[in-house]
Symmetry: C2
Subunit: 213 residues, 2 copies
């Protein structure tokens, strides 16, 4: 399904809507109102309705949105029809955390491989994901048509890993190291640094505190 130029933030929220909807799906409810979704995610009902408008979904005036239908539609929009395969590079704590957290999550993404240099980890399986030596990276990625790479290695090694990933034909990179990477324009890059997040929380917590006291 094709919708032109969905805003970045809307894409992010669609993923969150789906997650939230899956959580309440079990609870024998079949429909949900925009303000209920909004409350779950700390946003406004207008925001929700606007996003749903953008993806062309219509709810029922009296009952709200059909949960199952909406989950399905979001999938049609944000998932790739043929699925996408993912690899984690770096099986330290963060890499392991990602894999175990990913485990059992539905969706069209499948975690295919992990890479490390530690001999104790290589050729073992972690939460269903086999670990290979980093020097097999290109081969495994090409063979399995893996299109997304998650970088969780020590930051010094991040640039060379990124380069290998790009050369192996990866399409998107999620970088969890504090080292900003350079990749060609045809590779989508997202960077996240935990310390930056923490410092942001610290700043606004301090500020908030001053405001409320």
């Amino acid at each position: 399904m094709f919708i032109k130029n969905l805003p970045h933030k809307t894409v992010e929220r669609l993923s969150q809507y789906r997650r939230a909807l899956l959580m309440i799906l079990s609870k024998e409810k079949t429909h949900v109102f925009s303000h209920e979704i909004a409350q779950m995610l700390h946003i406004t009902p207008v925001q929700v309705r606007r996003d749903l408008m953008l993806i062309g979904y219509s709810g029922n005036l009296r009952k709200g949105y059909d949960i199952k239908e909406l989950i399905e539609l979001i999938g049609k929009i944000i998932d790739s029809e043929r699925g996408q395969r993912v690899a984690v590079v770096g099986l330290g704590n963060l890499g392991k955390a990602f894999i175990s957290y990913f485990k059992g999550k539905r969706s069209k993404l499948s975690m295919i491989a992990a890479f490390d240099i530690n001999p104790e980890k290589i050729n073992r399986v972690f939460d269903g994901v086999p670990c290979y030596h980093i020097n097999q990276l290109t081969d495994i990625i090409k063979q399995n048509n893996i299109s997304i790479g998650i970088i969780t290695v020590p930051s010094e090694q991040a640039p060379e890993i990124a380069e290998s990933l790009v050369l192996s034909g990866i399409k998107g990179i999620l970088n969890y190291t504090p080292k900003p990477l350079n990749v060609p324009a045809y590779v989508y890059l997202e960077e996240y640094d935990m310390i930056t997040s923490l410092e942001k929380v610290a700043f606004f917590a301090k500020k908030n505190d001053e405001r409320f006291k």
Copy 2:
């Protein structure tokens, strides 16, 4: 130091500027141009200059910005003068990742305590951080005047942990579970979900790929 209403994004970038500046500080350079900072972080030089304008920092027309001075000024603005203490709740892979990643990072934030329910972890020290049982959470937080909490427990437990943190007087929470939390307005809450990030990368990687092929 006080600057009124620094934009959210600017605060985030200030933290990144500092990180980047600390990285190049060693390299015997004393000054840096806006376009150099920009290149490191994949943003525009104007963005950098604008942010620095907002915090009232002036560079040298010919030499650029004094790296040490700028690092110091950013510290005065985003750090709390008296420092802030941090605790991690949940010592699984993600909690451990956070602690080990945090280790050795300067800044006015100090990691004081970790909490878990696993007896094998309790009363041990991880990367310099002592682990306590969760039922000691309130006591330890109050005793040590901890103001920031990071939640890395399984998502079902997140709401009760958040509640305990709030009752213990925490000022800011960084939630890494996919369960959105509710906290009073005087507590600053930041939520991050790895799967959402991954789905976003998957979406834009797919889109990018179509555009470039």
